[in-house]
Chain length 395, copies 2
């Protein structure tokens, strides 16, 4: 596999530093002490390129060839081999990773992908609600509310025709709203809202909202949560791969969920792994059907170019893998919907949480506005009301 | 719980920045939109202190009080609440975490602790080999060797009376030496060496080396590996908590291993979490019986003070939890044994890998020298040979 790093290093030391990195990320021992011929020729990492930065005299892109067999085709071990030890060396950033076709084919990848999300919010025979448009997503929050209060909130948001209602990522399996109590209540509230939309007829008759509760904890707890989520018929699941562990995400959640997986970037502290690689390509390869990331202009410092690169990595052709849905988030406001959908295109799910809740008593109305605007953005200009248009220029 | 962060921020913005961080790490929504009185008073994070750095005008230590109930007493969710989202904000470092006594008591902590390591290398009735001295540890490497070659290496190292022979952290479950083939072969090689030491009598008759293979992969693979390791009677296990996931480490490995756990810091470095907190306190609280960390003066940039702080955190009194064994590593050389043991004291396990293998045909001799020197350091000055003494001053 070909791995690109960015190193902070002086020009006269870069050759030796690159060689040391190749050793660190392969055999971790003095090369002269390796006596096995096969290990020397096939396992030891190799420096295949050193490119000075055009902007900074002490930055170099170093491309290493690392032996794919060291990963055992297992997602966790792959992370280990590309960034395990050198994560402890602050002069190293991981920029990119190219995997051979045979390895790509062995990694799980999204089970449902973008089409799976569309199908989930647009049941067969109930219209084409989810086709060809951007999707909307919001979060049940704040944590600390009890399960009935979260369910009531979920009802309002689903009745307003938001596509995906997820747990806030801080909501896990705490005493105030335990998973086993919360998930059935919220799921029933969502189903009630869906039934009412259907029975009311009109534009929302074919719309189905789905609930994505947070999976958390160790393997036993995860397995119990997966079983309960299946029994209750939830439509999607939310995971933090860097917290539950990439191997548990890929091996357990991806295999057992039976519904699309929404990956959350918590603890993915990205400074030294490029976000397009980790949140775009790798989370997708490990099985994420959608990936949440901090959009520009919100509470996080990511640039527009970086965010668009994450989306590109989530959706670009990649062996036979389904595309994953990019989910820009992190302090987005209703006023920015058109701008964001225009930037990302319709294969996108917008996540807005706090900015809806801010509406207080007008929550239902603001949530409906959000759902309508996402569904209509870049497609049905005439659906935009005058009020909406004014708001857009606030943003 | 009381959480200390270091923020890069200007003096006129720090109050607002600290409040924003308290929101980010608790309710993640505008506080004015929170209608539930209990959430406002008990769940919303609170700024309890802002201390300017004495050295840098744009650095502040911010202490937050976060609601312990948001963690659900689950290790992964605890990491999520203290550093999940703000890991994506590059101006934030996590410095320290103080947990209430009731929470400390609920976290797993080391099952065996330092005394467990000593017992493992010093069977009852076979002398007091492991008592009151530092322990030695080395790694089977390079990866890429097949299982019989690794077993042969393990035999040599165990025969030389090194206490703990672990897999290199890059060795997982790859085709060239699959776990199910490697572990029985290596374990038998270790047992053969132990038997020979016993039968040979003399100083090493009471010494028992133990093998610590690497656990890796998702829950199913972990469970299969744990079962096999138990069946084969291995004496310890190696895990990378940040790769397999802290919840899997705490819930599965800690509960099922039945032998001391050695935690490896792979992938733990990119996170902007202070190493004494993550590698010292948290890994211990999550169940590590020993914690490997990069020692100063090797291939990693950690300072002497930081390394000693990791060791202190691993061993200091902490509710009823057993102390964990600090394991300095990362490019250490035989010549530094005395210096290192003097710095850390006898409740320490030294890990040296490549520097032994460098000896080539003299591996057995150099490994024995390492084992002797660690066992004797700071205790039996007269065991140090002239040759050893000369080497020490090379370091």
């Amino acid at each position: 596999m070909s791995v690109r790093y960015r190193l902070q290093c002086s020009a006269d030391a870069i050759d030796a530093r690159a060689r040391a990195l190749a050793i660190e990320q392969s055999i971790e021992m003095p090369i002269e002490a390796v006596r096995d011929e096969r290990v020397r020729t096939e396992i030891v990492g190799e420096v295949v390129g050193i490119e000075p930065s055009a902007q900074q005299h002490d930055r170099f892109d170093v491309v290493l060839a690392l032996a794919i067999e060291t990963t055992g085709d297992e997602p966790g071990q792959m992370l280990n081999m590309v960034f395990g030890n050198c994560s402890l060396q602050p002069d190293v950033e991981l920029i990119d990773l190219d995997l051979p076709a045979a390895t790509l084919a062995k990694l799980p990848g999204p089970r449902f992908g973008i089409a799976g999300w569309r199908a989930a919010v647009s049941p067969v025979g109930e219209g084409r609600e989810g086709t060809g448009r951007a999707l909307s997503c919001t979060a049940l929050k704040p944590q600390g509310l009890d399960a009935p209060a979260l369910a009531e909130l979920a009802y309002v948001l689903a009745r307003a025709a938001i596509d995906v209602v997820k747990d806030d990522h801080g909501i896990a399996d705490q005493a105030c709203a335990p998973f086993a109590q919360r998930v059935p209540l919220v799921q029933r509230a969502i189903e009630r809202a869906n039934r009412e939309k259907r029975e009311a007829g009109g534009a929302l008759a074919g719309h189905r909202s789905i609930y994505a509760p947070t999976l958390s904890g160790g393997p036993r707890r995860l397995a119990a949560q997966l079983a309960l989520a299946r029994d209750e018929g939830v439509g999607a699941l939310l995971c933090c791969p860097m917290i539950i562990g990439v191997p548990a995400f890929a091996e357990l959640a991806r295999a057992e969920a039976g519904v699309p997986l929404l990956a959350h970037p918590a603890l993915a502290g990205h400074l030294r792994i490029a976000p397009p690689l980790l949140l775009g390509r790798l989370f997708r390869l490990f099985g994420a059907d959608a990936t949440i990331f901090p959009n520009w202009g919100g509470r996080f410092p990511h640039s527009r170019a970086e965010c668009l690169a994450i989306a590109e990595r989530a959706r670009e052709p990649l062996a036979a893998h389904r595309p994953a849905l990019p989910v820009p988030a992190g302090g987005m406001r209703l006023e920015r919907v058109d701008e964001i959908v225009e930037a990302y295109g319709p294969d996108t799910m917008l996540l807005i949480g706090g900015d809806l809740l801010r509406a207080g008593d007008a929550l239902a109305e603001r949530a409906a506005q959000f759902a309508r605007r996402v569904a209509g953005a870049g497609r049905v200009e005439t659906e935009t009301t005058g009020e909406d248009r004014a708001e857009r220029f606030d943003g």
